[in-house]
Symmetry: C2
Subunit: 197 residues, 2 copies
């Protein structure tokens, strides 16, 4: 889409503005994250599960101590997460998942996952943890849960030269659509009950 | 201890230097943290458990995007952790713990724990997670594991007007001393096996 100044001149973002745009684009998962946080708060308040989003890992370089004030971080950098974003406990079991949103209507690109996260999912499964991903198609607001073991299979297919995404049809076949509600908004533990009970 | 300049004048730390000192003092758990990280790496490499220290929660206020460089955080603040520092999976079970070091030879002050962390421990236990704390007496290098349910009892004793610390004798009685080794340095899962098997 072309954006114009009031005088009709076409707006061209500078490098910095492009980056800012990319940054905001990177936050497109905000709504999914908010819905999951609300769901986790519901689980917590009702003593159903204790599941939190992990803090973003930050490399701190410089900290100042201004007078009469607490520590201020003056230089720091985002680090690539080495694990998935969410984990916690449900009925004594370890729960571990990653949440991704896509604007695509037909598939979820596998580049949404980092290699480290795939390795982490492999490790969690090896220790009998409950591993999955939650995927939202933002245009249709459909949300799917896909077990980690299937994500690993689709990842291997890509590494063997196959397609670089998971088709929505495949999510329908191998995953579980999560019905959306009010409280909690995304009741993913209901799906976990269906799979494991 | 008095510190003197080469000219004999007594060194008095400025406010900022005092705070820096406090900050470093706050890092006195470094060695325990390093030992636990090494132990967790051992568990991970040997497919025994997947247990990580959570990133420190940071409130980001200002981010810059210098040209041809990645995002730089220019203003951020440390947030009080609302959970414990370590969690993960062992034999499918959820593992959750906090690690504290003390210079005291006789007790661990309960002020080492935040109210939020106590609440989190209560929630984890209610969901049948395995909850504990690891306490090191840095002068003797003795390390104890105390189950979360006992920590809650000592916390309640304090809230009811009792002592504000856990005596080392009580750790001996209610907790488990963890033998120190080479790989892993602190084999706390061995104690968990003893408790739960």
């Amino acid at each position: 889409m072309e954006i114009r100044y009031p005088n009709g001149k076409v707006f061209k973002p500078t490098k910095n503005e492009s980056k800012l745009k990319n940054y905001q684009y990177g936050n497109r998962g905000m709504t999914l994250e908010e819905d999951l946080n609300e769901s986790n708060e519901y689980y917590l308040a009702n003593k159903i599960a204790v599941i939190h989003k992990k803090p973003t890992p930050i490399q701190i370089v410089k900290v100042d101590y201004p007078q009469r004030s607490k520590a201020v971080i003056k230089e720091a950098y985002f680090k690539t997460p080495s694990t998935t974003d969410y984990n916690g406990v449900y009925k004594g079991k370890y729960i571990d998942f990653e949440a991704k949103e896509t604007k695509s209507k037909t598939s979820i690109p596998l580049q949404n996952f980092h290699h480290h996260q795939i390795e982490h999912i492999r490790q969690v499964i090896a220790c009998n943890g409950i591993s999955f991903v939650i995927i939202r198609f933002s245009t249709t607001e459909e949300v799917f849960l896909l077990e980690g073991r299937f994500l690993l299979q689709f990842w291997e297919r890509m590494e063997n030269g196959g397609r670089k995404s998971i088709a929505k049809d495949e999510l329908v076949q191998y995953g579980h659509q999560i019905p959306l509600g009010i409280h909690p908004r995304i009741d993913y533990l209901k799906v976990i009950d269906q799979i494991y009970d």
